[in-house]
Every structure is written in C-alpha cells, then in structure tokens.
Assembly symmetry: C2
Homo-oligomer: 398 residues x 2
C-alpha cells in the first residue's frame, strides 16, 4: 500500500455530539501531515454530500478556525440520517473516481459503520483502491467492541448535571420527578444519572433501562415505596423502555431509513408515566416529567475533558492507520488499559464488527430491574470527569 | 427603631433558582455583622416551617459551608408554594413571639411578596414589632418595579445556551425544532433565546411570547415561511402562550394554592404544536419539540456571574435596610443606572408594589407577533454575560 495517492473525503453522519468536531479536526490534522500531497475534503451532510458532490476544502482552514470548530458542538460538516442503497454506493464510488478520492472517513454510529461497510465491500468487489475508516461517535454508547464511544462521556455529563440540579430542586419542592433520557437501544446514557448520587438520600432513586422489561404497574409501586420513605422520588427512565413483549412503552409512527423509531423530541412517554402515577397514587401527588431533549448532545460547555481529547485522538488514530498504509479499512476502538489511573489505547477493528448491531449494557452493570451496579459507576466515572458538589447546610437534621 | 432586639428568621419560597442561595447567604453575612446579638434562623420550607416551628441555626454555619451553599442551585432551606390564610399569618406571629423573632426575610417571587405583605399588615395591626423584607427572586423576571429579578439572568443563560446548541444541532440535521420555555405570565425567559443568534441564519427564527395572542394557524404559516427560506426553523415558545380569548394553548387542571396552573413538567404544548405542524405541512417534515424542564432553574454551572453577584448583593441590601433601622419593611429593587458599562444600585420599595401582580414584557421590547425588539437584546445581554461562540468552517458557502 504505502503512501496515499489522490484525495481524502471526510463525512459526519447521524446525531451530532458535543465532540464530533474534535474527531473531524483530529482527522484533518493528521491527514495534512501524513498525506501532504492530498486534498482533504469535507462532504456536506455525509454520504448525501458525496452523492451530490458537495465538498468543502478543509485544507484551507486556519488552525485557529479548526480549533474553534473542534470545541463547537454539532456537526460542522452537517450530518445526515441516510442508509444508501446499493446503487447509491456505486454512485459514490463514481464520485470518488471523478474527484480522485482514495480515502474516506465516516464519523458516525452503528448505522454509519454499516454504510461504511457496504461501501467498502463494493469498493473491494470493484477493485477500487479505497482506504475507508469508520470513526466512532454516539452519545448512546451502544457501539460494539469499543470500551465506550466518543460523544458518550459528554452527553453522560449533561445527564449527570441535570440530575444534580433535580436533586436540589426536588428537595426544595418535594414530589415525584420523572426524567426521560435518550438511548433508543441501550441504557448507557440513562444509567449515567447515577453519578448525581452524592448524599445518601439523593436521586436518581430509580433507574429504568431498556435492558430490563418495564411494567407500568411495578413502576407505580416502586415510586410509591420511595415516595413513602423519602417524601420525594427522582426517576431516570430510558426513552427505549419496553414491556415484557418487547413493545416500546412510548411509541410513534415516524421512522428513519434505518428503521429507527422516533422517540426524542416528544413528551409522550413522560406524560404517559406521569398520568399512570396520578391514576395509581392519587391526583394530589406532585408529579413532573421532563423529557431531556437535544441539549443532551449539544448543550455548550459541558464537554467532558476526557471525551473531548479521546474524540480528537480517535480521529487522529483513524487517519494514522489509514495513511500509514498499515491497513486499508476498519473502525477505531478505544481499549481501556487501566481504570486507576484511567488510561486507554486505540485499536483498529474490522468494520463488520461495529456495523449495524448495537450493544446493550452488560448484565453485570445492572442491578435488579431499577438500578445500576457499582461496576457501572466505576466504568462511567472517568468518562464524565469531576462534577460540582451540591452543598447542604450542615445543621439540617433540625 | 435603631438596633434590632430579638432574633431573625429567613425563609425561601416558590420555585428555586440558580442563585437563590446567594441571597440567603447575603442576608446571613450582613445580619451576623449588623445584629451580632441576634440568632439568625432559617425556616424550613418557608412559611410552612415558621408555622411548624422548624428552624435551623444559620449562625452556626462555617464561612466555607455558606460559600459552598451560595454556589449550589436549589433552595438550601427548602421551599414551599403556600399562600397562608389570615389564621396562619396570626399563628406565624405567635411563633415569632414565642421565639423572640422581630425580623423576617422572605426570599421569593410575587406570591411570596404577597405573603410578606399580608404578614406585615397583620403585624402592624397587632402592634407587633416586626421588620419584614421580601427579597426578590424569580427566573420568570415578572416582578414589578425592579429592573430585573435575581435568578433571571442565570435561567436566561441556560435558555440562550440551549438555543446555541440547537443552532448547531438543527443545522446538522435540518428540520423544525420547537422549544417550549418556562414563564407562565410573561415572556422574559423565552425572549432570552434571542441571544443565540450569532450568525445571520441562526435561530430562534420565531419567538412567541404570552404578551401577544397566539394563533396555531398563523404559527403554522410562520414556520412554513422560515422552513421554505432556510430549510430549517427553530422556534422559542413560551409555555404561557394564549389565544385571542386569553385561554392557554396548553392547559392542565392542576393548580397551586395561589391559583397558578401547572404548565411545566409536561410535554403537552410542544406535542400539540408539533402535531399541528405535521397536519398543516405534511407528515414528512421533521419536527421535534423539546419542553425545557427544571434544568432552566437548576442546571449546575450556568449561573451568570452578574446574576450571582446581584443575588448576593440583594440579600445583603435587604439585611442592611432592615437592620440599620432605616426602614421597617419593604422589598429590594435593582435599579439599572447605566447599560454601558453596566451598573446597578439597590433600592427599598414598598411591599404592596411587588406583591401579587406580575409584570409582562414592555411593548417596546417586542416586535410584531413573533420576535423581540433590539431594545430587549440590549436589556438582557449584560444580565446573561458572555456566551461561547459557535464556530463554523469558513469555506462553507460551497
């Protein structure tokens, strides 16, 4: 293989994160060094921009602009939710041929890895020389193989901070507070709420993950028990909770081209559960339901330092693997080499190991039907970083 | 009057804010200096704690604890939504007599000012020597007389930051994004979203305030126009929007003892408007509705520096007015003495001028039926402080 001939394209895909631009800039930085003769292009709106030949020249950006972009949430190249057809993948290869592109980086989640995998299989079959790397990102943390995904630590930080806020808010004006958290297929993000437990009686008091069947009846009795004991109850509920039969508790008809049902951007699940509580426990109970929105992936200023630097490093690693000539294609996995002190290394893995399927939380990270295990706290804490502490008056036993 | 004889009680009331504990600590600090012979007590859950004689001794707290509490959101003394009856006010005076309390500070909004006013009238009628100050706080910014309310700047900062996040998120994956913002009676908090406009095409593109009648039909056509022009549309919508007849677009049956309807903690308004858009503009339109939740008043780390220091100063000012012997009762107003550079002073005002009624946004701060005027931007910017800038790639015209 050796040095790259031709140009490089980078695309961003799927839901943006706080740090997806760190990976973009990491690739650009490393590519400008490793392939000085190549143009580094950005495709607007991911694979859609490739098909429409909408490219920007990332090599022309100043270091200053790149650094500012790296620290801005959202996808600077814009994103897309699109699973290309076989014909579209063929068309993409034609566009690559036309623009002399022989290296493609696709920053995204499992669906984007699937797109990369499809494109790669087609390039191999066609004998088209294409180095192709998937660069992982997802706030859902549901990618296979990698220890965790860039984007997760920062979203988890937003979630933990929100629950910290709720702990003081609901302690001020007691009642039941339901927070619906993103994560269609896996409970990783919902589980991160556990980091808000600082004092003995802090919430979240109940944590419901899609990995465990959800029963509205049992939920009502769980809440009643906590409310009875503490006079307040804060619940973390994944938007993806399902009943015994696997049916989503909150469902809507809208799906994207990967078949994913729309769950976010609607208050339906929270409102439904709040109604169930009032029906079961009485209308006088103060119940509030917040559905955490897009702030989970875009609220400025909450990027976890570890997440930001890892997202950058994952971009650089992908470019180095691709451009050193050591490997033609793959995805990047983060391998945790130690937890205290926390350290990681970056590894190339096969695209097919990351594509399509998602990874639920491991059983040993979950406790019963409404909590996480201590092992999860150990897992997540270094990814989120230091959190502010909710101070209390000392003379509060009175 | 002169020096205070007897003890001091402080209570916190209504929805907490990011900086309500700054005011608490401001009162404590100033009281410990100005009335060294008095005990400084905190009533748990506001007037409820007075009635139940549940007090903590704030004079025993270390400086370190007080400072940490000042920087923690939520009401450290816990809060309450309660309008006491005349009998309860009489009972409160009996409790004050029993505990030798001759000075009461009540930190809260217009409802709490009303409670303070009732209690004061009764004390005057009974000839009971009571210095009584209302200390303003509300994220809604709807108190009369004062230029703005402690608590508003920080909540406005959370709102502006959320819209900054949405600007990059919705630019990444275009569609219509509706954000429902707190503010039952006035649009101040919703209007603060305007600070997220950094680039020409940034949102919020439409801002709907309770001060202007809301028509679902006109809303749908407003959104269609922006969506047509920019390919995306971000809307800021107050939870308190009402139709021509004054009826809330989102309504629920739950009210508190002041007669306030529950609006927050439910996704009903956002979901209703999203449905109207899909019905009017087609099912294929990507529409997401987030109802900003309690994070608006409690998310850690977003306190505006100006708001935090003013909340502290307002507490100190109340204690100084009360304990210097210059005035027996009142509330504190912030008077803006200059906007560039921004500066304020603190003034005592009569309780009745702040009690009960709220203040909507002034007409000259509003533009048309779906925007704010430049005068509002000048008004709000210093209260919120510097915001991070969303960086874009420079070569983005492509």
């Amino acid at each position: 293989m050796g040095g790259l001939r031709g140009n490089i394209v980078i695309g961003q895909s799927g839901g943006p994160t706080h740090v997806i631009n760190q990976s973009l800039v990491g690739i650009v930085e490393a590519a400008l060094v490793a392939a000085p003769g190549s143009r580094v292009l950005g495709a607007l709106h991911g694979i859609k921009g490739v098909l429409e030949e909408r490219f920007v020249d990332l090599g022309r950006e100043s270091r200053e602009t790149l650094e500012a972009v790296a620290q801005t949430p959202g996808a600077a190249l814009r994103s897309v939710r699109k699973k290309p057809t076989r014909e579209e993948c063929e068309r993409a290869l034609q566009v690559f041929t036309k623009h002399d592109v022989h290296c493609f980086f696709y920053i995204g989640g499992n669906d984007s890895a699937e797109t990369a995998h499809l494109l790669n299989e087609l390039a191999v079959a066609a004998g088209y020389d294409l180095r192709l790397f998937h660069v992982p990102k997802t706030i859902d943390n549901d990618l296979r193989v990698t220890d965790h995904s860039p984007g997760y630590g920062s979203a988890a930080r937003y979630v933990a901070l929100s629950f910290l806020g709720d702990n003081v808010d609901v302690r001020s004006l007691p009642g039941v507070k339901l927070n619906v958290v993103m994560g269609r297929n896996a409970g990783w993000l919902t589980a991160a709420s556990v980091l808000a437990r600082q004092h003995d009686d802090d919430g979240p008091h109940l944590i419901y993950l899609p990995e465990r069947p959800f029963s509205i009846e049992r939920f009502v009795s769980d809440v009643a028990e906590v409310q009875q004991r503490l006079g307040r109850c804060i619940c973390a509920i994944s938007e993806g909770v399902r009943d015994e039969s696997g049916a989503l508790i909150a469902s809507s008809k809208e799906t994207d081209s990967h078949g994913n049902v729309q769950l976010s951007g609607s208050g339906a699940l929270g409102d439904r559960l709040a109604s169930a509580l009032k029906a079961g426990l009485g209308d006088k109970l103060r119940v509030r339901a917040d559905t955490f929105g897009y702030a989970q992936r875009s609220f400025p200023g909450v990027a976890s330092p570890v997440d930001a630097s890892e997202a950058r490093a994952v971009g650089r690693a992908a470019a180095q693997f691709a451009l050193s000539g050591d490997s033609q294609h793959g995805s990047i996995a983060i391998v945790r080499t130690s937890n205290a002190p926390y350290s990681v290394r970056y590894e190339r893995v096969e695209l097919r190991l990351v594509a399509r399927d998602t990874r639920p939380m491991d059983s040993e990270l979950i406790r019963g039907h409404n909590d996480v295990a201590p092992a999860f706290v150990e897992y997540v804490r270094p990814l989120v970083g230091e959190l502010p502490r909710n101070a209390r008056l000392s003379d509060f036993s009175a």
